[in-house]
């Protein structure tokens, strides 16, 4: 079959080369997904992300309307503009998804994350940790003679910054909730 000038083993012969001419810079988007709170709904959303190869940077979920059985899932994801559009469309297609909001593009929004930090240390370091916590408006929610547990709320960046400062001061453990977000202004 000489008519077919195919170099063997080259990837360009893959049938699944789906690169297109979209901008391929990654963007970070925060999505708010309001869903029917029924068994398996989180698995549907998470399965969509894993099955189609999308990123999840953080995910929070809780029922927000007990009577109406609605939960709100806040997902921070990243991808090219085309991928972000796909993610939203795919989410919207899930039968038990009521609403998908892209807080990153739908005007200004507030994003908050809560984190707990366990820091152990003595002497100067302990004092410094407490001083920095104060600057960051972190609360002490548990303390022993050798340790503090701080509670801090803020944007993910603020929490990252606090973590960087605590690391040399004896940071032992971190628990973060992931982002919760709402659009600014009245509805």
């Amino acid at each position: 079959m000489s008519a077919l000038k195919i170099e063997q083993g080259t990837s360009k012969h893959s049938a699944y080369d789906l690169r297109s001419n979209y901008a391929d810079v990654n963007e970070r988007h925060t999505l708010a997904v309001v869903v029917e709170n029924e068994p398996g709904v989180l698995a549907r959303v998470v399965g969509l992300f894993s099955g189609r190869g999308y990123n999840i940077e953080s995910l929070t979920v809780a029922e927000i309307d007990h009577q109406g059985h609605r939960s709100r899932i806040t997902i921070v994801t990243s991808g090219t503009p085309q991928i972000i559009e796909q993610i939203k469309a795919q989410l919207g297609r899930i039968v038990v998804v009521h609403d998908v909001h892209d807080l990153t593009v739908e005007g200004p929004s507030v994003e908050r994350e809560l984190a707990l930090f366990k820091v152990t240390g003595e002497g100067e370091k302990r004092v410094e940790a407490l001083r920095l916590a104060d600057i960051f408006r972190a609360n002490v929610v548990d303390s022993t003679l050798k340790s503090f547990t701080f509670e801090i709320t803020g944007t993910p960046e603020k929490i990252d910054a606090f973590a960087d400062l605590m690391r040399p001061l004896g940071l032992q453990e971190v628990a973060r909730t992931g982002v919760a977000a709402l659009a600014r202004g009245p509805l």
Binding site: L18, S20, N21, G40, G47, V95
Partner: protein, 583 residues
């Protein structure tokens, strides 16, 4: 609201949903439902021989009628056997409702006998699924299931019903009372976008309609409107594998199928057009070839009921979310009201150019020598059966592509093939489902010997229910499509692409009480086909064909449309200097 057991509710809900036939296979976890089926006569139950076949049969039923197909299987292995069919239906947007039995609720999670996490396993291969935890919600869920399966972009749904829910009593609600308001996909297209599309049609010099399974799924009105729009504008139309029949194969503007094994004229027209109007297709990789080179100079419009299909693979300029029939109706109305304008001279030139490509005669083949060419076999089948009340199913492989190329479809819902998933073993059970829906029609499954063996146990179903399905097997003793790729892409190293130790198909048919016919001489072919058609009962037709025939035209995967390779018959003499440059 009436009180009844869960098992009775299942049968009642099926009746209320207008279901005539259920394809199924019993087992411990669905016995209460089978007991109810036993005690009534309105719904027919077809006992298949494998649960995968039940789902494909339901798909055949659904594709050929436009109504959801229904499946009933047991828990565990019954449910897992249904997974391939569910995935197939999801990929091709076929409405089916699968009911599975489940171990009793109090045993879920204990690794009980024949327990499987059915909703977990089938979550990614259904449009939606439900595990029903109490009898009171069962009827509501069943009605919702039918609603979801057929609304918007159709697809498979599954309802998992634990055995204690089947035994217990609860209150039954009628379909009208079920909660369906939360799922109401948009049907009408955005008027501004529609106006934009009409303006584009008016100004286009080299337009093309690229239609897909969405036209069929939208219902007969969509095909009717497509025909009207195509013929009124004179714009050439091509279709994906899934969309064949929406526009008639004998229509004046028909280009033939496009894609990897599509027609030369269709693919080149797609590549060179200046306006592409995608109606209910999804820019599948078998259609686009290399994305970067896909129809580089066209504006693209895309009509689809599923917003996630738009801009998924190919960025389009005019996206229209809506049901094909609704949108086409609006497009036609607006186009007419604005004076039915097209660029007539440019269109005439465009059509002349397409006619030039057509002259390449890319499907030409030479039937010579003592062996039947597979193309010849399909061409004869077409010639001897066209004009009849005919439905064609296929398996997956070369024979499938030849069927798509050489058979002309004049009507929608007459062509059942596994497009998205490419499931070998789809065709035979699918033909059973079609025959159930259309008892007096001629139902033919164009098969490959390897695919057909994957669900050959259904011969038992065909003979039991006296379903006169015709199994037209193009027997090349090869996994032909695999062999073709190995020849073209893997240095002719034919790794495991032989069909070895094949059965004697005639004896096999007879063993099941069906009729077997073997044909190997081209001179006998017509008579043998007529014998098959005339026989009132299932027939296995073993058509021994050329073993190393390749299926052309072919766009090697990852190549653009204009890098198509043509068959030997055409390459040698038919292509002029101009065409050869493109090959």
């Amino acid at each position: 609201m009436t009180a009844m057991t869960g098992a009775k509710m299942v049968v009642q809900a099926l009746k209320d949903q207008g279901v005539e036939v259920v394809f199924g296979y019993p087992g411990g976890a669905v016995l209460p439902i089978y007991d109810e089926i036993f005690q009534q006569n309105e719904i027919r139950h077809i006992l298949v021989r494998h649960e995968q076949a039940a789902v494909h049969a339901a798909e055949g039923y659904a594709r050929s009628t436009g109504r959801p197909g229904v499946v009933l299987v047991t828990s565990g292995p019954g449910a897992t056997n249904a997974v391939t069919g569910l995935t197939d239906a999801l990929m091709d947007s076929i409405p089916i409702v699968v009911l599975t039995g489940q171990v009793p609720t109090f045993m879920i999670g204990t690794d009980a006998f024949q327990e499987a996490d059915t909703v977990g396993i089938t979550r990614p291969c259904t449009k939606h699924n439900w595990l029903v935890s109490d009898t009171d919600s069962l009827s509501d869920v069943l009605h919702q299931a039918f609603h979801v399966a057929r609304s918007g972009r159709p697809g498979p749904v599954l309802v998992d019903i634990p055995k204690d829910v089947q035994f217990a009593s609860g209150s039954y609600v009628a379909p009208q009372a079920a909660k369906t308001s939360h799922y109401q996909p948009r049907r009408k297209g955005d008027p501004d976008r529609i106006a934009e599309l009409v303006a584009a049609i008016e100004a286009a010099e080299r337009p093309i309609f690229y239609t897909g399974g969405g036209v069929i799924n939208s219902g007969p009105a969509a095909s009717q409107l497509l025909r009207e729009l195509v013929d009124a504008t004179g714009i050439p139309v091509t279709s994906t594998l899934m969309g064949l029949g929406a526009y008639p194969g004998s229509g004046p503007n028909w280009l033939g199928m496009l894609g990897m094994h599509g027609l030369y004229e269709a693919n080149l027209a797609m590549h060179d057009c200046d306006l592409m109007i995608n109606i209910g297709a999804r820019f599948d990789d078998r259609i686009t070839g290399r994305i970067q080179d896909f129809s580089p100079n066209s504006r693209k419009a895309h009509i689809d009921i599923d917003p996630s299909s738009i801009n998924k693979v190919i960025r389009v300029d005019i996206p229209i979310v809506g049901d094909v029939a609704h949108v086409l109706e609006d497009v036609l109305r607006v186009w007419k009201s604005r004076g039915r304008r097209t660029e007539r001279d440019a269109l005439a030139k465009w059509r002349a150019r397409i006619d030039e490509w057509r002259r390449v005669d890319c499907l030409a083949f030479r039937q010579e020598g003592p062996t039947i060419k597979p193309q010849y076999a399909v061409a004869r089948l077409e010639a001897l059966t066209k004009g009849r009340d005919r439905y064609i199913c296929t398996e997956v492989g070369q024979h499938q592509m030849w069927a798509a190329q050489y058979i002309r479809f004049e009507e929608p819902n007459r062509w059942m093939t596994s497009g998205g998933l490419g499931t070998m073993g789809y065709g035979f059970p699918s033909s059973i489902g079609v025959q159930m829906a259309h008892p007096d029609a001629l139902v033919i499954n164009v098969a490959g010997e390897a695919s057909w063996l994957m669900n050959m146990q259904e011969l038992g179903t065909a003979t039991q229910y006296r379903l006169p399905v015709k199994q037209f097997i193009l027997n090349n003793e090869r996994l032909g499509m695999v062999r073709q790729w190995q020849q073209l892409l893997h240095g002719e190293r034919y790794s495991h692409s032989w069909s070895e130790s094949l059965p004697d198909f005639v004896k096999l048919a007879e063993a099941f009480g069906a009729k077997g016919i073997q044909c190997k001489d081209p001179a006998d072919l017509d008579d043998a086909i007529m014998e098959m058609i005339k026989h009132d009962g299932p027939v296995v037709f073993d058509c021994l064909v050329e073993k190393h025939e390749n299926c052309f035209p072919m766009i090697p995967s990852g190549e653009p449309h204009n890098k198509m390779i043509l068959g030997d018959a055409s390459t040698s003499d038919a292509i002029g200097a101009k065409g050869a440059v493109l090959v």
